[in-house]
């Protein structure tokens, strides 16, 4: 780069070297706005910051910053996790929670997709549906907990309902936005090719919006975990959230830690799977 510059001297223009620095030898900046960094550097920094977090936790526990009952050591948590895994409790909880979030999320998605697509494409549908959805979206899903229990009791469907209330309204609006961002020109050109609206929607608008919609699902799935755990904390007899609330009653802080970490890990795994799958399906969008 520096060489290329020195080889093409600008005719007539006096060359000016920045003061205090030899001309043509710029130090690479590490932290300018939007400056790229090596993927390896990124990885190392990311791993380091995890290490620092973990180390901080370990030190805090070692020096007894707080009593074990408030802050268990990493070793305690690990042992507790192994124990719960060995006696099968952990797997049973993971399975129950996983099934709940899957069903709740699928129900929400199955209804949100067509509605979001409809109001993203047709202004009439938007006028009818968008304002109330936008309104309900601002009602905290948590505040619906008592209502859901009154409505459907405390069985599985109540968990699905909470996940649904927390996820659905966001999904509808995000999908609407995804569809609206499809370039107008794609629709215009399709019309000039003699296509009718319904096939433009199916063959052009949907595929064009698909990668963005996939991202919406990925993001809302992350949020759905929150609603699942809340539902399980309040009224459940199994699941990771339930495990956490029971552990609290008996001051088993290490179990709480195990629960939180496992939920985080599961969320991360599902997110990475979605991300990878999306990249595979929508290679063209790179």
């Amino acid at each position: 780069m520096a060489e290329a510059i020195s080889k093409t001297p600008e005719a007539g223009a006096p060359k000016r070297a920045p003061a205090g620095r030899p001309a043509g030898k710029r130090r690479r900046k590490l932290a300018g706005i939007f400056d790229p960094i090596e993927p390896r550097t990124y990885m190392i920094i990311a791993l380091l910051s995890f290490a620092v977090l973990f180390f901080g936790w370990w030190v805090a526990a070692e020096i007894d910053l707080a009593k074990d009952i408030f802050l268990p050591s990493p070793a305690d948590v690990w042992n507790r996790g192994v124990e719960l895994a060995k006696d099968g409790t952990l797997w049973a909880d993971v399975k129950v929670s996983f099934v709940r979030i899957t069903i709740g999320f699928l129900i929400s998605t199955a209804i949100a997709l067509p509605i979001g697509i409809a109001i993203g494409t047709y202004r009439l549908a938007e006028a009818a549906i968008e304002p109330p959805v936008d309104f309900i979206r601002y009602m905290p899903a948590v505040a619906f907990l008592p209502l859901t229990i009154v409505w459907v009791g405390v069985d599985e469907s109540q968990k699905w309902l909470i996940i649904f209330i927390g996820t659905f309204f966001q999904q509808v609006l995000l999908v609407m936005d995804n569809v609206k961002r499809v370039p107008r020109e794609y629709v215009d050109i399709s019309h000039t090719l003699g296509m009718r609206d319904h096939s433009v929607l199916r063959k052009v608008v949907l595929p064009a919006a698909a990668p963005a919609i996939w991202d919406t699902l990925r993001i809302t799935l992350g949020w759905a975990w929150t609603w699942l755990v809340i539902a399980e904390l309040v009224a459940a007899s199994d699941g990771l959230g339930h495990r956490i609330i029971v552990a609290q009653r008996y001051f088993q802080t290490d179990t709480i830690f195990v629960g939180i970490l496992v939920i985080g890990l599961l969320g991360l795994i599902m997110d990475q799977i979605m991300k990878y799958t999306g990249k595979r399906i929508f290679r063209w969008a790179e």
Partner: protein, 262 residues
């Protein structure tokens, strides 16, 4: 009159803006004969693109009439092919599939027809490439191939090379001229680039500043076949300066108007 492939008469277009009505087009009249290459040129905001949208059937005229082969235009249709300035290839389809997409309902081997047209624009080697892997110029060539593939009566081009760099634009103009000279299509081309207009066209229509009307109709007598060498002929310069003057008058009008408003 009946010979005209495309006939535009008394077209007026009024937009309802926040600040009241805006008259974009006010009585546009012109005709394009079969196998004629006509460019519409004008300052930005003169309504030339609106005119093209109306002919394409994507927008509706407030008054007046557009006829293709003597038939009034109602909405978009396959008798008119359109190439836009923005990249309108579908990014999830390969070049080949993009062209094939335009051939739905066409008799014969769609794949073969698509391939022929990719060949026509010199991109047969990129049939399996996705748009994101292609340069802007290549994408526009495929867009042209797509618009030609289903053999529309009239080809409408809205500043198709406007987003390309100067060198690529020149190459695209030569390519389009070569294709046109071989296949003789009826083309309405919109641009604000005067060199482009002279180089490509049989006739150049100059539009007035808003509200747009046809101000001048200039037949370009530069001989065909045209290659880039015509760009430096005195003849070319003559047409260029004539158009430059006509367009400049209108730009000045717009400029003084804008200054007056401030």
């Amino acid at each position: 009159m009946s010979e005209a492939k495309l006939s535009v008469s008394g077209v007026r277009k009024v937009f309802e803006g926040r600040a009241g009505e805006v008259v974009a087009l006010d009585g546009v009249d012109f005709e394009i004969a079969e196998k004629e290459f006509v460019t519409v040129i004008g300052t930005s905001g003169c309504g030339k693109s609106t005119m093209l949208s109306i002919i394409a059937g994507l927008e509706e005229e407030s008054e007046g009439e557009v006829l293709v082969n003597g038939e009034p235009v109602h909405g978009p249709g396959r008798d008119r092919g359109v190439v836009f300035q923005s990249y309108t290839l579908f990014p999830w389809m390969t070049a080949q599939k993009n062209v094939e997409f335009a051939l739905h309902g066409t008799k014969g081997e769609r794949a073969d027809i698509a391939r022929e047209h990719l060949e026509l624009v010199g991109l047969e080697g990129f049939a399996d490439a996705y748009p994101s892997q292609l340069s802007g110029g290549m994408r526009q060539r495929i867009a042209i191939a797509r618009a030609l593939s289903y053999k529309p009566e009239v080809l409408l081009m809205d500043e198709p090379f406007g987003a390309l760099d100067a060198q690529t634009r020149q190459l695209m103009q030569e390519l389009l001229t070569r294709i046109w000279e071989e296949h003789r299509l009826t083309v309405m081309f919109v641009t604000h680039d005067i060199d482009e207009a002279v180089f490509l066209s049989d006739r150049v229509l100059v539009m007035t500043a808003r509200p747009g009307r046809i101000k001048e109709d200039i037949r370009v007598g530069v001989e065909r076949p045209r290659t880039f060498e015509v760009l430096s002929t005195p003849e070319f310069f003559e047409y260029k300066s004539r158009l430059l003057e006509a367009v400049r008058e209108e730009s000045l009008k717009t400029a003084t108007e804008q200054l007056a408003v401030r």
